[in-house]
Point group: C2
Chain length 270, copies 2
């Protein structure tokens, strides 16, 4: 994989400030950055966008919106307001896309949560269209179905994106969440064919995963066949950034310069 | 749920010997026991079966066979031999059923692993039919797809059971693995209708799961809607045991008598 297509999520190098991430990514030959909300600190979103572009990087996505389902109508309304604010922040940042971690509530069924997700997205969509910020539904691994997302397969994400139907809705494919899906090739082709494949995230699934949240692997150190999946994504004509998103208690404790070197090496071996 | 339908897996009270489990389960009004291989120690399988029946309990299943996929043909042949030995042990124990944790290898694709699983089951099946021991394919949660099972949904388990087609093949439905499945109701009805629903396992999914393997919850302390799923199982006409299978580092460290009391209380609230 050509380093020109490499984007890194700020959460991947969590110990760094946004300024440090931007400067070090650029120096390493990385061309894109996906900005997590927590990374924008001590500056406005417009200033963050300027900082990034001044260093020659593209803002690839703003992470992360969603979390629409709640048993209380008041909480659901608050979630919609929060997502509208995120759309405004993304526009100020110059991010063309927001990744949606859609949410789930352990106190209601997954079916009800999915309905609330669709209603939430539809409430935010007019502003997203107006400000030209796309919304990407990211299916999350079923181990997050209790409280993080009721959308647990690319098939479900595709269904919802198609049901909503807008030039500004689509899906984000993260290998960590969907690598096990029996119909993965078919579902990647499906979202690619209708213009819904908006983002492609890579990392790896460690065979002995120690933590449900923060033990993702560097590309190549797990069991995901990244070449095969990336080939399916390529076949759709997707030519956007390939985004490295690694949550890792282990890597966060190491020297982040060395870690960045490992990332760019591993990226080029995909 | 009537305590007369309660079966407990020996692994649930791991600190106890088989003799202790049998005596304490019987005293608590539990009627069935599913025996893990490691529980049969210091006695033959026939003696274990006698011990169980002498205490008024039914042997519900023998746990666990499977682990068929390997990159080496020699290892696959060894796995088949091992499973044949398990069938003989189950017959000696008087267990009508073996639960199959089918296996997966991180060094090959899930598709290849699934093919090897089917070949493995078909190689063991004649002996299972001869000794009248049924084989239940247990779909495992996708978080175990790397090395524990390439069968990660009830839909896939149903597909394979139907493809194999025998009076001695079917599926085991464990709520922990399949509660998130969008088509769960439909898939339970499907295996119920064709006689493939051989076993039903309960526990709970804790919203803040601390460990991928050994942090299952007691029924009621997680987010699984056990009444709803048990209702679907009931609708199929399934009237077998409802098996409690909880792997929990937390509960294993507590007094097992108290834990057993919590299990029988929670069971009756399903």
């Amino acid at each position: 994989m050509d380093l020109n297509r490499c984007c890194i999520h700020t959460i991947t190098t969590k110990p760094w400030t946004l300024t440090e991430s931007v400067e070090h990514y650029a120096a390493a030959g990385v061309k894109g950055i996906s900005v997590w909300q927590n990374a924008v600190e001590g500056m406005t979103h417009a200033q963050a966008g300027e900082l990034i572009r001044r260093n020659g990087l593209d803002v690839v996505s703003y992470v992360r919106g969603g979390f629409f389902p709640h048993t209380s109508a008041q909480e659901r309304a608050k979630a919609i307001d929060h997502n509208k604010k995120l759309v405004e922040e993304a526009a100020a940042l110059g991010a063309p896309l927001i990744v949606l971690v859609c949410g789930a509530s352990p106190d209601q069924s997954l079916e009800v949560s999915r309905q609330q997700i669709q209603e939430g997205i539809e409430a935010v969509l007019p502003l997203a269209e107006q400000l030209n910020v796309k919304l990407a539904i990211e299916p999350l691994h079923p181990m997050y179905a209790a409280d993080r997302s009721a959308i647990n397969s690319l098939a479900q994400a595709n269904d919802m994106a198609e049901a909503i139907g807008s030039s500004h809705i689509g899906v984000a494919v993260d290998v960590y969440h969907v690598w096990w899906e029996p119909e993965l090739e078919k579902q990647i082709i499906r979202c690619g064919a209708n213009g819904h494949l908006l983002a492609y995230h890579v990392c790896d699934w460690k065979v002995n995963t120690l933590d449900l949240l923060n033990d993702r692997g560097l590309m190549g150190e797990g069991c995901i066949d990244l070449k095969k999946i990336s080939g399916w994504v390529d076949q759709t004509g997707f030519d956007g950034y390939v985004e490295v998103e690694i949550f890792s208690n282990i890597y966060w404790q190491t020297d982040q310069h060395e870690f960045l070197g490992k990332i760019t090496d591993a990226f080029q071996k995909i």
